[in-house]
Amino acid sequence: MIQNLFSDFLRGYEVFIGFYALSYILFYFGLSVLSFIAIKIYSNRKYNIKDDILIKSNHVVGVSVVAPAFNEGANIVFNVQSLLSLNYPKFEVVIINDGSTDDTLEKLIEEFELVKVDFFYESKIHTQPVKGHYKSTNPVYSKLLVVDKVNGKSKADASNAGINSAQYPLFLCTDVDCILRKDTIVKLAKPFMENKRRVIATGAAIRASNSCEVREGFLDKIHYPKNWLARFQELEYIRAFLLGRMAWSKINSLLLVSGGLGLFDKDIAIKAGGYWHKSLGEDMELITRMRKHMYSIKEDFIIQYIPESLCFTEVPATIKVLVRQRSRWGRGLIQTLYLHRDVFFNKKYGRTGFLIFPHFLLFEFLVPILEAIGFITLLVSFIIFNTDYEHLLLLSIFVYFFYLTVTLFSILWDEILYNHYANVREVAILIAMAFIEPFVYHPINIFATLKGYYHFFRAKEQKWGDMERQGFVKVEKVAKAA
């Protein structure tokens, strides 16, 4: 009897995994098709409006670029210069020094000729105390505002202080070390001005800047990363941004606008309560609350994604840092799903409750757990049970080639759209990485995510992770010589 029950259980698990995998594959196939349509529509519209019209206009919507900085003394000056050089007629740069223990603030004061000003600050979103605001005495840097605050142990808290200090109706949230393309604001602000429905957030693709040539905070030449981990992450980013998020954008179901680059409606973000300082997935959590707010006021809205690589950021180059980052993301995911569990299948929240949240639970949260169980089951089967090697091999090859097809398609879109890489060799390396990613990089990711889940259940305290920066390929000397 017990043997039969166990046998039934195993069989049940097998059938569940079979159907789960099939639905996963079909779902992602559907996403790929949607993504292709979305990218095609976007590229078809290039003659509809030229960016130079927006750049010259006095009637564009103002944008505040909000960038928190914690112990960024090494690169802060170049980073701020890079942000100040963005091409848009109405914007400001708000840098938040989140209680850095290094010389971040001193360097800013010195380089940009800052003085403390009597800024009338109102804490619309609660944050750790703000110690002061700094503005430049040099009119060249009039667009810069530096907010000095007590460390709040989270990027969310720092971003909230920036939002409170921002003067324009839209705010662009980024990390201070991110290198933005000059037309970033134009590209991201455009959907806010061309949609009939209210746009509450926009985002765009992020790429790895490791190995890119950077000249005084400006991107000089894009290269495929030399570091192995960074290479895998580049591949992952291409796939996630071009095939995943574009498809979600097409059906107006985005739940994640990356913390590295996102433009938000300030009014809605404040009404939704801003970033939650205890969240480890603050970007996803904010979008969830903004969505909930829009449903509560019953106003139709859009969250849109742009198939352009506008932001370049240094991605983790060591396993230790990568595991920490991914474990934080994993923890952030489960935290958000748990915190907003009332959204699941709630009529009030429309597609967020019936499509987006169930997807995140089934195909995002559950995947690492199932993979781990699958791995353990395989090990046990090898030892105890009579493994059906023929079918194991057949299905493994099937999944592997499906993965390769999807990944190579995303690389192809990327190549056709942007032609980012320098030569055939770099493209060939990218392809080679795709072949080994499932065996080398993916297990690290799974481990890190599961670690994040474990920490969530153990309720371990979160903190800002120190990113060990490797630095860009600097060409300052070239610039000076030139």
């Binding site: 059938v15 019209i53 927006l54 000003v117 080639f401 390769l404 398609f409 190549e415 493209v427």
Partner: protein, 627 residues
């Protein structure tokens, strides 16, 4: 071209995959026997004979030893007629010394036959032989009595994984798990059991053979029967003997038990699992083919991009040189221009679309920097190079986005003759195409271009507004006659854009209409009207602005405060001084303080306590570094 290469690459890969599959299946065919090998082995085929052919002639040449045969195209000498191909070969070999061209030819029913015919005959013969063999084997099987080494079992199914079912036995054969029913010494009993099983639902049941306890083929069993005696006495062996009724009852019990099982249980042990694996195999082949194709496409795309870059660089230089030389030419008449253009066309791959696109881009860029005759010269070049037909081809394309590209050419070149083509798209249902057409129409139409907005019902987004305003500015368009009428339009997006036009043209005659829009139900229109009141210095709007202030949202309140800075009087100052004491947002408070400062209010000059809210706001406003 690059795309053609890529498509070809995909096609090749798909074909390779298809062929791989084809070869695979051909390699698996165990029954195929080569006809030539078969006849060379001396196997007789009914009706087939062989003769040695020695020579052929156009006229009849008799021979004393050889037979002269008439054929359709002449006469041949033949020797002998054999049923065994090997014999014919031996004779031919003996004749080779005198007749080196001798060879064996085929005959069917006395007529000369081709190898194709022989092949077909041999294959039919083989199939018939196999059938005969099978028949013979079954005959032996059916007529045999008890044989001590031979057993029969009914095979119900073959599975990839171990399976257990009550009443059935299992065994493993060639990696498959077989589900078997009974063990019979008599073939007929096995057949009865098989039919009963088919009746109760096991449709794929069939009788399998066992020789000395091992699984055997029909041929092996029949061979064994042939070479052994028939024993009449049946010894005592333990066999499962069940009647048709007992099997039926057993199966019905099982099926009934199945019906009792939950839906989940049925789902767990669903049929057709094997089919999924077969489908997966097909998909692997498809995915594999796609993977290889994608790699080839990616590499070839990257190479072609690099080549195109280098190519464009070269031709860009040639175009630059040519256009510059035209600009520097002193006496450039029509004839000389024609001559130069014809010569230039031979230096570049003019027939390619990318080259035409590159040329138009260069012409547009240069034209922007010139006016008058020089600018007209670029239109002449554009026409003489017959680039107009390329643009028209784009506009006539079925895809809307290709059309926008063509319309854009006309707009950028200032080609006014293209207006009739463009006009029909200004009412197109596709928003993007219509907007591009409208912008192009406005920039090209010499008289009253904005009249296109009379009775305009389409949506104009903020971004379209910006484009239209930019075009008005660039083309120096004058105030449209109906501008005031547009302010009364029911199309809110048109009203919003008109308010911006009114401020751009500084059209004071529209003042009353603008003020009346302060009562418009749309807050966006009201916002634009408030801005317009300030920009047109409509001081008569002050009273109404103060009246509506408290009913407006924060954005409009801020705009009212900004407007009052330019049109406000003592009434506004009084109003704002009171407003300072009210509870408002940070932004409203700051704007109120700035407005009071601008209006020279005495309250603003008052000393506030440093830590009081008003004191902090005043310090914020007074700080020279805060915008």
């Amino acid at each position: 071209m690059a795309y053609k290469v890529e498509i070809a690459a995909i096609a090749v890969c798909v074909l390779v995959c298809g062929n791989l599959q084809l070869s695979f299946s051909q390699g698996l065919d165990p029954h195929h026997i080569d006809s030539q090998v078969y006849i060379e082995s001396g196997n007789p085929v009914s009706g087939l004979s062989y003769k040695v052919q020695l020579a052929s002639y156009s006229d009849p040449v008799p021979h004393e030893h050889f037979e002269l045969e008439s054929q359709n195209d002449g006469f041949i000498w033949t020797f002998g007629e054999f049923e065994d191909f090997r014999e014919a070969l031996e004779v031919r070999d003996s004749l080779l010394a005198d007749h080196p061209d001798a060879w064996v030819s085929y005959y069917f029913d006395g007529e000369k036959a081709t190898y194709q015919k022989v092949d077909s005959l041999v294959q039919s013969h083989l199939i018939q032989s196999q059938k005969d063999e099978l028949k013979e084997s079954l005959y032996w099987l059916e007529s045999a009595g008890y044989l001590p080494d031979v057993r029969y079992k009914v095979q119900v199914g073959s599975h990839n994984k171990p399976i257990n079912k009550e009443g059935f036995s299992t065994e493993t054969f060639e990696g498959n798990h077989l589900l078997l029913y009974g063990e019979f010494v008599d073939y007929h009993e096995a057949l009865v059991a098989r039919d009963s099983l088919i009746n109760v639902g096991f449709k794929d049941s069939w009788v399998s053979f066992y020789l000395s306890g091992s699984r055997a083929s029909l041929a092996e069993v029949s061979q064994h029967i042939k070479s052994n005696f028939v024993q009449t006495e049946v010894p005592e062996v333990k066999v499962v003997e069940k009647t048709d009724r007992s099997i039926r009852q057993e199966m019905e019990t099982m099926l009934y038990a199945d019906a009792d099982k939950s839906f989940v249980k049925k789902l767990l042990y669903f049929e057709g699992e094997r089919k999924i694996y077969s489908i997966a195999l097909y998909f692997i082949i498809i995915f594999f083919g796609t993977t290889i194709s994608l790699i080839m496409v990616l590499i070839s795309h990257r190479r072609s991009v690099e080549m195109a870059k280098a190519r464009k660089k070269v031709y860009q230089r040639k175009i630059d040189d040519f256009l510059s030389s035209l600009l520097l030419e002193d006496d450039l008449n029509d004839e000389l221009l024609d001559k130069k253009l014809q010569k230039f066309k031979t230096k570049i791959p003019f027939e390619k679309d990318w080259c035409k696109e590159l040329l138009i881009k260069n012409i547009v860029d240069l034209k922007k920097n010139f006016k008058g005759e020089m600018a007209d010269m670029f239109i002449t070049i554009y026409l003489k190079l017959e680039l107009l037909s390329y643009t028209e081809k784009l506009i006539n394309d079925s895809s809307w986005y290709v059309k926008t590209k063509g319309i854009f050419h006309f707009q950028e070149l200032g080609y006014t003759k293209g207006l009739p083509i463009i006009k029909k798209y200004t009412k197109d249902p596709n928003d993007f195409l219509r907007n591009v057409a409208i912008i192009a129409y406005i920039s090209l139409e010499p008289t009253e271009p904005l009249s296109i907005f009379n009775d305009y019902k389409g949506q104009i987004d903020k971004i379209d507004e910006l484009k239209i305003l930019d075009t008005i500015k660039k083309s120096r368009i004058k105030v449209p006659k109906n501008i005031i009428n547009w302010l009364n339009s029911k199309n809110e997006s048109l009203v919003s854009m008109t308010l911006k036009m009114v401020t751009y043209f500084n059209h004071l005659e529209a003042g009353d209409s603008v003020i009346s829009l302060l009562d418009h139900p749309s807050s966006k229109i009201k916002n634009e009207a408030i801005v317009a009141c300030g920009k047109l210095y409509l001081s008569q709007a002050e009273e109404r602005l103060l009246e509506i202030f408290n009913k407006e949202n924060e954005n409009n309140q801020i705009e009212i405060l900004k407007t009052l800075r330019t049109i406000g009087s003592i009434t506004s100052t009084f109003f704002l001084e009171q407003l300072l004491d009210e509870k408002n947002s940070r932004e409203v408070k700051i704007e109120t303080m700035i407005t009071l400062k601008e209006l020279g209010s005495e309250v603003y000059e008052r000393e506030f306590e440093d830590n009081s809210e008003l004191g902090l706001i005043k310090m914020h406003v007074e700080n020279p570094f805060i915008q």
